[in-house]
Symmetry: C2
Subunit: 460 residues, 2 copies
């Protein structure tokens, strides 16, 4: 491209992000996304993988700079960002930017929350940092998707590192030069394999991205130099990840349209590509009582990638059950539910579910978008019933209502907090942009104690 | 390949590494390499980039588990591994496995020293961990080089993460199952761009690899799961980095021949590809007094990669001066020196050096190996003088003598330690395999103080 490089365009955007007036729908989308992130993080607080990671973090962590969501305990900002972002993704219930398959808040809010607490940022500064970080990772995602993802990179992690660093730059008020170095430091830490998606490292990748991004911003602030044009530099990010074809169109409305407004908030704790199929199955199950014994065959017609990502006919574990379109369809049809308890409490080896999944067929249809699906039930008596979905619930076109989001949040948050604290937290998220600091959030899980130590000079 | 996957072969090798009897030349090579690493780390103690990173680490670090080389101060193991490994590479004076361009000890000794101190390992266990880690990263390097490097990956970092994790597995006595998970955790953190080679992030990459590998081993120990076949798994390391053509021959003598014995210890603090040119120039300068004014042209004939990596005619900084074959040649000819003080104290903008570099021509000769070089001086009076080098000094074929290594170590170590302490440290390295613990090393930079805190359970 002629004109400024992408690296420089992002630096300019980040530095403007500190003072930008945000449109009301951006603020509202971000507040909802943060509430959703907090709910997911609270809901996974006692997850095995979170506990294992926390045992390690506890043995390594430094000064009490930032709190662990849902625990009356603080770690240094890098370890806090790591554990919180890891937990946010553990239930596969966090948000999704469908055009790039990036979990937008995952790493970004992990980093931003830790640094905002530590620097005692206002709610508005926290939101600006989150909006900026999400914009950076998702714009990069639009540049690199799908080749980057198809090759095997866990895009929420590789690019989440940039988003987290960008959010950190806003909160640390870095100037353009230091912001460039922060992006370089993010790029050289960018990592995360899709081979991890079926295991606990899926969430570790998100946590690590938050930690690496936080570290990038702190190092840049401390005067550590890097390559500011990290995307376009020789042997830089585009050289190793692949060069985008068209950068101009992706950057054209940068700063004028915020991609956080395009994020989906999941109604179901499973892979987002499965959601239209669940919607279809729930609609079918509402039309008439569903009896598995009467079914001859169920045909699930979806975009080809859906079966690549979620084509497992018979999952072996609760985690892989969240990535089987057939298991999710069986749950939705037989239990008329696909929420947290349906996925968590169901035995994937249940013989009824197994028999039903065995009668399901997945059909690829390249003319469908990933957001679309058709489910067709053929009964033994020859009747058929079918349902198509254009936009899944939770998508920008069919967003969760405030009541649905509140219900999702409450179910998750009450795993870790008393109902009153959960309610206060949700309410505080709704007016976050106007809060002077984050105390109304953190107070729901931390007891007021001795004043925290003054931050060291170089972290302001 | 048929038979076991590379991932599994490495797991088996790592687990045997804990009890393997090491051949005497392996022990000796490793002790020399560790002395060299310690010297480099001490020599860079007060380097600007080390200081900047340390300011950040200090603000983040946890319990005093492992010491910072050359400082009477301890950080948690991950931060100690990070800072020490970063410092080890800062002067570009650390060792090199020429067939893969990996700095073998860099990340591996960073991780192993921190964990060995923390677990109070014996000298022999420390050495076994280092040998094992170096073997893992260099075997992987032989599988992936040069494509991986040519694409833009900083191979000492991407694969150093594996080496550091492997060393950690040995010191934490992980079983095969946990070792597999540790390699998976290493793989998904593997990162580092060659775009960083001309800036301070070059060394950051090595430090980060040490930190990530240490974290991988600790997480695996704590029960955190990953993908054990991380190399061959769908969307695993080989999918993103490229599949090696021939794995069988690279693994054939795994465990029977230790690649640490093939490492080069640098006599000059600059890119290793430059070394044969320096040798040639020093030899020419010894033949007769060198007067720049009499020179018409100097032709430097080298392997093509040498000019890709070090073809900068006129460096702008001390750091980039270490990666200019022309600047190094000019130093060697005019000052008959290419040691630490020659590179550190010389102004790259010195007009005499500039004029001399301007009269130099680099010629690629694909028939030469990277270890070979020819330097030919044409004088204004028509005379010519030339010198060819087959193997650079410091290479396995022309290793540094013990006296040369001791002199190099002393020059470096005395930047941070009193001469007596430096001498005791060097002497301790020479009998490291027989030491009951690492106190004889660490005592040279730490004062005996209150007993260190008992390690937490999960770090034994």
């Amino acid at each position: 491209m002629t004109g400024p490089t992408v690296s420089r365009a992002l630096v300019a955007f980040i530095c403007e992000g500190r003072t930008r007036e945000l449109p009301p729908d951006t603020v509202q989308s971000t507040q909802r996304a943060i509430a959703n992130w907090l709910g997911c993080t609270l809901g996974a607080r006692d997850d095995d993988s979170v506990q294992a990671a926390l045992r390690v973090a506890d043995a390594l962590a430094g000064p009490p700079q930032a709190s662990l969501v849902g625990r009356d305990r603080r770690l240094d900002v890098v370890n806090a960002a790591w554990i919180n972002a890891l937990a946010a993704n553990a239930l596969d219930y966090d948000d999704m930017h469908v055009p790039t398959l990036i979990h937008p808040t995952g790493a970004v809010v992990g980093a931003a929350l830790a640094l905002a607490e530590h620097t005692r940022a206002s709610g508005a500064q926290f939101i600006r940092a989150v909006v900026t970080g999400i914009e950076v990772e998702c714009r990069l995602g639009l540049l690199l998707f799908p080749q980057h993802y198809d090759r095997g990179w866990h895009i929420s992690a590789t690019l989440g590192t940039f988003g987290a660093a960008a959010a950190g730059c806003v909160l640390l008020s870095l100037d353009p030069v230091r912001t460039g170095h922060a992006l370089g430091l993010a790029g050289t830490q960018s990592s995360g394999l899709r081979a991890m998606l079926p295991n606990a490292c899926k969430s570790f990748n998100i946590g690590k991205a938050a930690a690496s991004g936080t570290l990038a911003a702190l190092l840049a602030q401390a005067g550590f130099d890097s390559e500011p044009d990290v995307l376009e530099a020789k042997f830089g990010l585009f050289d190793v990840f692949g060069w985008p074809e068209d950068t101009a169109s992706v950057l054209a409305d940068l700063g004028r349209h915020d991609l956080i407004t395009e994020a989906s908030l999941k109604p179901y704790p499973c892979g987002v590509v499965i959601h239209p199929v669940i919607d279809a199955c729930l609609a079918l199950a509402e039309q008439e009582p569903f009896d598995p014994a009467t079914v001859r065959r169920i045909t699930i017609t979806v975009h080809p990638r859906t079966l690549v990502l979620a084509g497992r006919q018979h999952p072996e574990s609760a985690l892989t059950g969240r990535f089987s379109v057939f298991h999710a369809a069986a749950l939705a049809l037989t239990r008329r539910a696909a929420g947290l308890s349906a996925f968590d409490d169901t035995d994937v080896h249940d013989p009824v579910l197994h028999a039903l999944r065995a009668r399901m067929v997945g059909v690829e249809d390249p003319t469908l978008a990933p957001r679309q699906a058709q489910v067709r039930i053929e009964y033994r008596d020859g009747r058929t019933l079918s349902q198509s979905i254009e936009h899944p619930s939770g998508s920008p076109q069919r967003p969760l209502s405030d009541a649905q989001l509140a219900a999702k949040f409450t179910e998750l948050a009450c795993r870790a907090l008393a109902p009153e604290a959960a309610a206060r937290l949700y309410e505080a998220c709704g007016r976050l942009y106007h809060l002077p600091d984050l105390d109304a959030l953190t107070a729901q899980w931390t007891r007021p104690g001795p004043a925290r130590a003054a931050p060291p000079d170089h972290v302001q």
